[in-house]
Amino acid sequence: MEKARPLWANPLQFVFACISYAVGLGNVWRFPYLCQMYGGGSFLVPYVIMLIVEGMPLLYLELAVGQRMRQGSIGAWRTISPYLGGVGLASVVVSFFLSTYYNIINAWAFWYLFHSFQDPLPWSVCPLNGNRTGYNEECETASSTQYFWYRKTLNIAPSIQDSGGVQWEQALCLILAWLVVYLCILRGTESTGKLEQLANPKAWINAATQIFFSLGLGFGSLIAFASYNQPSTNCQKHAIIVSLVNSSTSIFASIVTFSIYGFKATFNYESCLNKVILLLTNSFDLEDGFLTASNLEQVKGYLASAFPSRYSEVLPQMKNCSLESELATAVQGTGLSFIVYTEAIKNMAASQLWSVLYFFMLLMLGIGSMLGNTAAILTPLTDSKLISSHLPKEAISGLVCLVNCAIGLVFTTEAGNYWFDIFNDYAATLPLLLIVLVEIIAVCYVFGLRRFESDLKAMTGRTLNWYWKAMWAGVSPLLIISLFVFYLSDYILTGTLQYQAWDASQGQLVTKDYPLYALAVIGLLVAASTMCIPLVALGTFIVRCLKRGDTAPMA
């Protein structure tokens, strides 16, 4: 008798697991950035349209496949067609890459969280230089938050070639992050669904991409989660709920982010003005309090005409303070979370409290997504009879966490952040598009849309709406193909790939070219997952041919 598949205790647990997986750091740091780049509120139009046309149908498809096949991604696709086991394998490979580099973000969040219990916050003051007469030079040219991020946290090397040693502080935080993830996945399904307290053609393409990756399609996590569902679960309702919650979280996060931007911009603008006032007061021996923000321009004009020589000496040191330029600094990714937000937090009252709350939230988001990723890897492993007969579930989870942690130590070296950017930009983007495209074609044309429809009806008792059928069969594949073509052409047209390196002497980021071996790693990352699909198909074909060759003489 087959061992019963573990089930979610109730549908709510499943929904919360999906939501905690889908709502991740991308909602906090990628979506507000896109809103800002593509016209603020008007970005919502392509975003919502892509959500309805692409996000929900694909999410529903993945959940339905998982619930129908009741297996992880590898088994599910092999059931649809033996040649398509490669799709599941590709999903697992991409999930593996993702879980390798994603947890370092949780490690950084832990690092900042532990440092939030000090007064003053360590990123709000610069350390002193050698003879204690001024502040550290790198900190002066950049800012204290940037210094804390690039020097104290990452201890970043000037380029990707100078890989220093492993930073033991980051390594410790990474190990802790993996222990927490292991703790959550140790008991399997039952423990991952815990309640959480949760015009421009480029605009359209970015909206489509954001929906795509924000929902976490193609990693196999959703299939894994849905495979633990009761067959009669109404996954259509859940698909809509999860995508709506994910999008509203993104929108809510961008409202908060924009108010933080405003606060930070205002504060920086005022301190910039104060610095200019101090500089002018000192250079021209003006009366204290004579220069204010309101009469600054007038006085500048007067000084330029009255003392032209001394004014021209002072002019290069004076910064042109402008609120617009402060607001226009749009940052995404780790720069947003760890630099911009910390800069805003350090200026608030009760900054330790805000800091602790903020990094705790980042941790919750990050670990929620990590659980989904590890579920995508573990479910096919525990499903496979070969492995689960030799090792208990705890040992498999432990091994996966250990391997990922060991590889993740690369990201704690001095050049680790550059490798992180490589993984972040290339490990998932292109392969996922291909995986989801193959998924949707497999379900609609290889398995047969009618067959899938009747299976779903038998399983859940509800007929499939014409809308889903139209989306699955026509619109979504076309959209994904066009996205895919766009990305490929973009990569080819831009020529050599470049990255941003931190220059300690200038106190800002500079653009550099990737060395050859980094480009090779990028190619390997993309190839490792995408090649699984044709290779496994080819392998299955060969095995079948051999079997047919063996059985033919007997027949």
């Binding site: 000090q118 003053p120 350390p127 007469t133 802790l176 140790l186 021996d285 003006l286 208990p392």
Partner: protein, 154 residues
């Protein structure tokens, strides 16, 4: 006050000064005055109720107070606490999982073992009450109960 001469007064509260030595009747060299001010900066500031930001001595960089550096960085303490909690929780979960699995696999075999053992105790040590049998009976019941739970989802 009689030995401090002020000159070159400007609109903002700023002035040049030299310090004379009454006994030798000449001005003290700037270097000596500078080092004296550096050492007594705090006294001079507090005499005027000012601080380093509001009272500046040109060419005398102020000695900045370094941020407090405790012997053990605070973050390691918090890290240690959370690390220990997580390790303990992992150990507990692993041990309870192993115990559950052992109870599951021993369930059917324990019945035979206990019967043999009971026979042994009766034959080897006559008259000793079969307390072990009673508790093992309790164990057996538990095992059957959990097996039932396993079956109902099917």
């Amino acid at each position: 006050i009689s030995h401090v001469l002020v000159c070159n007064v400007t609109q903002r509260v700023s002035f040049w000064f030299v310090v004379t030595d009454p006994s030798k009747n000449h001005t003290l060299p700037a270097v000596e005055v500078q080092s004296a001010i550096r050492m007594n900066r705090n006294r001079i500031n507090s005499a005027f109720f000012l601080n380093d930001q509001t009272l500046e001595f040109l060419k005398i960089p102020s000695t900045l107070a370094p941020p407090s550096d405790p012997s053990v960085p605070i973050w390691i303490i918090i890290f240690g606490v959370i690390f220990c909690i997580v390790i303990v929780a992992v150990m507990l979960l692993i041990l309870s999982g192993i115990r559950q699995r052992r109870r599951m696999s021993k369930g059917p075999t324990e019945v035979d073992d206990s019967e043999d053992k009971c026979e042994n105790t009766i034959t080897i040590e006559n008259g000793i009450p079969c307390d072990p049998l009673d508790t093992k009976g309790g164990h057996i019941n538990d095992a059957f109960l959990t097996e039932d739970e396993r079956l109902t989802p099917l």
